[in-house]
């Protein structure tokens, strides 16, 4: 693995200052920073070969289409999907889940059917299913969590039934950091022939993702959370599902024949890619994935585990600091509150010290409700963070306690 200075050197923004202090960026759960190679790739598209894909007869359109399809291959290889036809480019995790919730609902869901999610979900993996349930008269079931922030697996098993049509859970919780036992969740559902969607928004960037080994039916993730550009994401789906499901958007490129009487759809993956897609984003995403592969995903996982252990230890030593989410397996994300101090006050003062954290409900209000709180402060690390930055966070927190205590 590259040494930490080399790694940090790859990310130009990490050199900047905020309020004349070095930036300590601990909001990676919201979005990750971009290495120079990704920034260069985007510039390169627009300066060297920008043209709309799949449409032109001219050279630039060929170059652009080729780069886009190569990007699809990069994503396929990164998540070890079987076929490039199973990789759909979307706007992000939210776009992917909404698409499947809509198409799956239209095709398979009828009144009284059940959809299972967990109590740990981000709103993006709650609301699309709720909308679908309302439309179809289906019922949303929620796997409860224990005090540590882990799903109660026996409750999930009890919930699975002949009424269950699909299970959709996060690979890891954005609010608490809990890693969910997705393989076990999937295998239990499969024993009843129920498909499973995995929301990989907080999983893709923290280790090796192998959709065939996991055996999920759908996998959704966002480019911007894995060091790529924003506005691009991916929906992986097993071919047997994608072939059967109707498209979730109509428009150009997704069609075969269009007459006013009837339209026939293009083949996979284009059936699900209506309109001009974010091809520069896809190309940038592929470069980001290559970058991550270059750093080494196992090394990333190990380094992040080390940071998580160090940060958990240091924060646990702070008097009056309470950590929410104490699962055995966690991504490097720590949600906490300081006794009697509002999360917003904590976040504002940390910001003034150059430390970027997130405060609030983290788009996961049901999780906050589970603990009877209105929000938390969330520090989310990744492999370019350092122990010194965690020390700065702790020093910042101690200052906050003095100010408000």
């Amino acid at each position: 693995m590259k040494n930490i200075d080399e790694i940090r050197g790859d990310f130009p923004i990490l050199n900047r200052k905020v309020y004349d202090k070095p930036l300590v960026y601990l909001d990676n759960g919201a979005t990750t920073q971009k290495p120079q190679v990704v920034i260069d790739a985007l510039t390169d598209v627009y300066t060297s070969y920008n043209a709309n894909i799949h449409r032109g007869v001219h050279l630039l359109s060929d170059l652009s289409s080729e780069a886009y399809e190569n990007a699809r291959e990069s994503v396929r290889s990164f998540i070890n999907a079987g076929k490039r036809e199973e990789i759909i480019f979307t706007s992000g995790t939210t776009g992917s889940i909404n698409g499947i919730a809509f198409s799956f609902g239209e095709k398979y869901i009828k009144e009284g059917d059940e959809i299972i999610i967990s109590h740990l979900e981000h709103h993006a993996n709650i609301v699309p299913w709720q909308m679908m349930c309302e439309r179809k008269g289906a019922v949303l079931r929620v796997i409860p969590v224990n005090d540590a922030g882990e799903i109660i697996f026996e409750e999930y098993l009890r919930m699975l039934s002949s009424k269950t049509r699909i299970v959709s859970v996060a690979q890891a919780s954005n609010a608490l950091g809990t890693v969910l036992p997705v393989k076990e969740i999937i295998s239990a559902a499969h024993s009843l022939n129920i498909p499973v969607l995995i929301d990989g928004a907080q999983g893709i960037q923290h280790g090796v993702v192998d959709v065939r080994d996991m055996d999920c039916d759908f996998y959704a993730f966002s480019g911007h959370k894995v060091y790529g550009p924003t506005g691009i994401g991916c929906l992986y789906g097993k071919e047997k599902w994608l072939a059967e499901l109707p498209p979730f958007q109509g428009g150009g490129d997704m069609v075969d024949q269009v007459t006013f009487e009837k339209t026939t759809y293009n083949e996979l993956p284009f059936k699900f890619e209506a309109g001009t897609t974010n091809y520069p984003g896809a190309i940038g995403l592929a470069v980001a994935l290559d970058y991550v592969t270059g750093i080494g995903r196992i090394d990333i996982e190990n380094r992040e585990k080390e940071l998580l252990t160090y940060a958990t230890g240091r924060l646990s030593d702070v008097k009056g600091l309470r950590i929410f989410g104490k699962a055995t397996r966690k991504i490097p994300t720590i949600s906490f509150l300081l006794d009697g101090i509002h999360q917003y006050d904590t976040g504002m003062i940390l910001d003034k010290m150059g430390i970027a954290v997130r405060t609030g409900t983290h788009c996961a209000q049901p999780v906050m409700e589970r603990y009877g709180i209105k929000g938390t402060v969330r520090a989310s690390f990744c492999f370019y963070n350092t122990k010194e930055e965690i020390d700065s966070l702790v020093a910042g927190i101690e200052k906050v306690i003095i100010m408000f205590g």
């Binding site: 101090i341 509002h342 917003y344 006050d345 003062i349 609030g360």
Partner: protein, 146 residues
């Protein structure tokens, strides 16, 4: 003092400090001095919901001036709430409607009133002006009826 005189006084108070920590400490103290809102007004009807922090605002109109009481669950927000109350409470609806709140920017707290900071403060200013518009309209209506 006029609204602008109060604003100038606040700017003067804050200009005393160069360090942001001192400014925030002043805000924290201001928040502590904020007159307590009657608990019966800390309900949904008077809540201005922000994504990050909450603000409760209650108007009391005696036919001439509006007296505002308010509170927030976050201390820094409460400090800014206290400043807004200092400037706008006890004024006529017309004064409040036409007030130009330049002090926020001058004391370096503009970011706390930007629409991207969903702490309820921007909505609070809007709500204060909306109450004033309503009372102003009501006043005119009563005059016509006389």
């Amino acid at each position: 003092m006029t609204i602008n005189e109060v604003q100038d006084k606040i700017i003067d108070d804050f200009s005393f400090f160069d360090d942001w920590m001192d400014k925030y400490n002043l805000l924290i103290d201001l928040g502590k001095d904020l007159p307590v809102i009657d608990p019966k007004f800390k309900v949904k009807d008077f809540l201005i919901e922000g994504c990050q922090s909450k603000v409760w605002l209650h108007p009391d109109f005696d036919g001439k001036i509006i007296t505002f009481t308010a509170d927030s669950d976050a201390i820094i927000t409460r400090g800014i709430v206290a400043l807004l109350i200092k400037v706008l409470s006890g004024r006529t609806p017309q004064e409040i409607i036409s007030a130009d709140l330049y002090f926020i920017e001058k004391i370096g707290l503009r970011q706390n009133l930007s629409p991207t900071r969903s702490n309820g403060l921007l909505s609070m200013v809007r709500q204060m002006k909306l109450y004033s518009l309503a009372y102003n309209a009501k006043g005119k209506f009563n005059e016509i009826r006389k």
